[in-house]
Symmetry: C2
Subunit: 102 residues, 2 copies
Amino acid sequence: MYIALSRLRVAPARVDELISAFRARAGLVEGHDGFIGLEVWRSEREEGELLMVSRWQTRECFSAYMKSADHRASHARIEPGLANSVRLERLEHLSTYEVVAT
Amino acid sequence: MYIALSRLRVAPARVDELISAFRARAGLVEGHDGFIGLEVWRSEREEGELLMVSRWQTRECFSAYMKSADHRASHARIEPGLANSVRLERLEHLSTYEVVAT
């Protein structure tokens, strides 16, 4: 199983808005080949830090989704003020992992 | 759901040994109240980096396990050379999260 993890930071005052946006997401990723699940984790210590964790059967499935029109559309849906806030506070480079033990 | 995430770094030459140790773990955590699951993720880009991700029903369940004799025992089982290697390369501070969206 393949994991894609993104660390997002927003102004603490906007974190609830960002969580609401995730909860109201269109679910475009759901139909993509090899998609297993998506979770959003809120940091207990770092105010305004969220981790977005998606699971895929293989790296190739994830890469195919990242190049898809659905991926672009999912970003385009985000309210511009909120999207800019995330961008300003920083969207760190994506980290990717293979699940090697359970 | 509550997530505890630890980032471990070892010399790249020892990463397979560390993964094997996780695969052969005694499973002492399994019986603890509120434990949901444990995964070990191997970084695709950073050689020698692993994330250990455990899931709990609540923060209190995780805290109780961290204070338990089973937690101490699970660490004591690790071969000393390997344990020191992880310590030298760095065990970063634990980060904890609440799952807020799926």
